[in-house]
Amino acid sequence: MTTPSHGSPPDAQALDDTARLQEIADLRLNDFDIDGSLSEIAAEAAAHFGLPVALVSIVLDRAQYFRGSHGLDGWMATTRGTPAEWSFCQHVVRNREPFVVDDARHHPLMRDSPLVRIEGVRCYAGVPLVTFRGHVIGSFCVQGPDARSFNEYDLAQLQRYAKRVIACIEQGRQG
């Protein structure tokens, strides 16, 4: 089990790495109707953790794109994404490892994000979505409006969901 990160090391992965972006393009995420499958996995994860929101977040160069989701409402349900710099999921991609926030109001990387200040997100756990070619394209995550902690068993469960998500996404490339 990889230890979850709490910050960005100096050798962090840049979001605009061209090879990573080309990998996202190669997956042809919008050519296939995978919304239902990915959102089913998200719904299962939200129920498992007893949290209102679970996301398949593809982290692009300047925005995160919710390719599958459960529990989104308001403007995020319409835009299906947010600017990358607001996101928790950017840290999963930058560090290529799980990112856990027990209480975002006190987290140095997240406390100033509008998702925390205005939208009220408090807890978050996300794990990398790693393609068969080894690129981290995003995060599979759960989040909620109250502070809570996550343990290693929780992260292992998230990894299992992430593997199912990647298997679904990779079918698009092979198809």
Partner: protein, 96 residues
């Protein structure tokens, strides 16, 4: 009308200019590829472009870019989400 609904400014979100978007695209894919991608995505109907506001012009161009299957396409989708977020937050404030 005043409202307590947060604005795009409260979220720290602004719309980029076309020049800024082109400059960012050049950094990502190189000048030649950026100009080609931008020209291909821009509407040749200049009259329509003049009638549209900045949000609509950016949205149309970024969504055209997003249809590409390369890094410029990912850049386009990324910017489309940012512009749509700006529009959604602005609309929420107006309707509050």
């Amino acid at each position: 009308m005043t409202t307590d609904q947060p604005s795009a400014a409260d979220y720290g979100l602004t719309l980029p200019s076309e020049a800024e978007v082109i400059a960012d695209l050049m950094k990502l894919v190189g000048a030649e590829a950026a100009i080609l991608a931008w020209r291909a995505a821009s509407d040749p109907d200049e009259d329509a472009e003049q009638q549209d506001n900045q949000e609509q012009v950016l949205l149309r161009i970024t969504e055209q870019l997003a249809a590409r299957r390369d890094a410029a396409g990912v850049f386009g989708r990324s910017l489309a989400i940012r512009v749509n977020t700006y529009i959604a937050l602005s609309a929420a404030r107006i309707s509050a």
